[in-house]
């Protein structure tokens, strides 16, 4: 059964629907922090904030690699073949990237003031 792009987005929306209020809150807080950083001139240390966000991404990536199977009731021993391992690495990469994006505005604000 084929899924269109819009179908996939619709499914993702439904999967995330219980988390939407939290995600919107995080987005609003991040945007506010980013605006605050810009107002205080803290964006000059962009590269340092980006490096710190990258560290967050790597840490979360590694945590997800270790924890994701366990959190889903499975074990690493149950992962079978390229499909499962690629899916795990892709999930870890995606969640790591999202964590970095979320962490960047507060890091920008903190490092910009230092």
């Amino acid at each position: 059964m084929a899924f269109s792009l819009f179908g996939i987005l619709a499914v993702l929306l439904e999967v995330l629907r219980p988390l939407l209020p939290v995600l919107v809150l995080i987005l609003v807080v991040d945007l506010a922090l980013l605006a605050l950083a810009a107002k205080r001139g803290a964006l000059v240390k962009f590269a340092a904030a980006l490096r710190a966000a990258a560290v967050v991404a790597v840490v979360v990536f590694l945590l997800v690699l270790v924890a994701a199977p366990l959190l889903t009731g499975a074990t690493h021993a149950q992962l079978s073949g390229a499909l499962d391992w690629l899916a795990l690495f892709a999930a870890a990469f995606g969640i790591g990237l999202a964590s970095a994006v979320i962490a960047w505005p507060p890091l920008q604000l903190m490092l910009g003031r230092a």
């Binding site: 059964m1 084929a2 899924f3 269109s4 819009f6 179908g7 987005l9 619709a10 499914v11 993702l12 929306l13 439904e14 999967v15 995330l16 629907r17 199977p69 889903t72 009731g73 499975a74 074990t75 149950q78 992962l79 079978s80 073949g81 499909l83 499962d84 899916a87 795990l88």
Partner: protein
Amino acid sequence: MASGALLGGGSAYAVRSNARIVIVGAGAAGVSLANRLVRAVEGARITIIDRREEHFYQPGLTLVATGLWRPERVVGHNTDFLPRGVEWVKARVAEFDPEANTVVTDDGQRIGYDYLLVATGLKIDFAAIEGMSPGLIGREGVGCVYDNPDHASRTWQAISAYAAKGGVGVFTRAPGGLKCAGAPLKVAMLVEDQMRREGRRDSAQFIYTAHNDGLFSQPDVNGFLKENFPERGIAIQWHHRMTGIEPEAKRATFATPDGPVRIDYDFIHVVPPMRAPDPLFNSPLANIGAQTPEDRKWLEVDRHTLRHPRYPNVFGAGDCCGTPIGKTAATVKAHVPVIVQNLVRLLQERECDARFNGYTSCPLITVRGRALLVEFDYDLKMIPSFAFIDPLQQHWVPWILKDRMLHGAYNAMLRGRI
């Protein structure tokens, strides 16, 4: 273009009509039909008839019955999914009168229609097994995953008690069309996996009673299971059809080619025969001219257009349909666009051209953390949605799909988005 139509992948308002369209049943098929129709047909009077306000995510019942999900996770509310512009009659259809284009509800309302979409779901026929009743579930070692979260929760109670003590576990499968025909297999495999993980596997004897000489209709999956079950120490009794239960004695009776056989059990998963609900079963809409008693139990529809052959303004969707395979939510997902397109074509006085290919799907959980993603059609040919997933390899990814993603896909289907 309206956003709804954009997300639904169809055109905004395919047709204008003042037709009266009645949907019987607010389960997966009925709600999904309602959502698609309000976007596809402008001006029609759409009515949905069902007393139930709760909406059960039935694909999750296997996970509730085996202790992997809490029952609250499968309970929603139809008010969250039914669209504006649809009249909801909170009653149950007691009689179908297709000659008069009317349905009669149990509170006496006569509701006329120009087009009728039958999506009643099915009836679990507990009475077909002598001594069996829904009240037994959760007592005397009796489980039954089907129908609602209460049955599934009580089944988990019985399974927990069995897993702690061990003994003989009997897992049955009725003949004929079944809702999620993979569920009896999944329950057997998940209980076996649970006892193995808890280190009590040696205290239990597992027996799976097949109604014929196969475990699954799709031949490749059947072959996989015929190897997998013996490897796990699950004994298979072929051609065993459960006919009775003596709960106090913990004994079940089976009809076999060699005569009745009694099996003593400590836990039994009872899978009764299923059929269309009584008002539909007893109506002219049932397949009354069918050659086999099995076919007579269901709504008569053309297997491709899903249109009633004798009452051309009637369509069937979901479990109540007398199609050869597929009483699953995945089948509903495939049914609904076909019916909506064919109904729109009828409203435009054109031929029905959408065809259902028999698509059904089963994420067949083999152990906690692994599953097969099985998808096939009327020809029993595998038609995988994701070419990179081998349907005969146990993987973590199908388990994740079942555990984390498919409820979202189901809700998107209810909203008519996929």
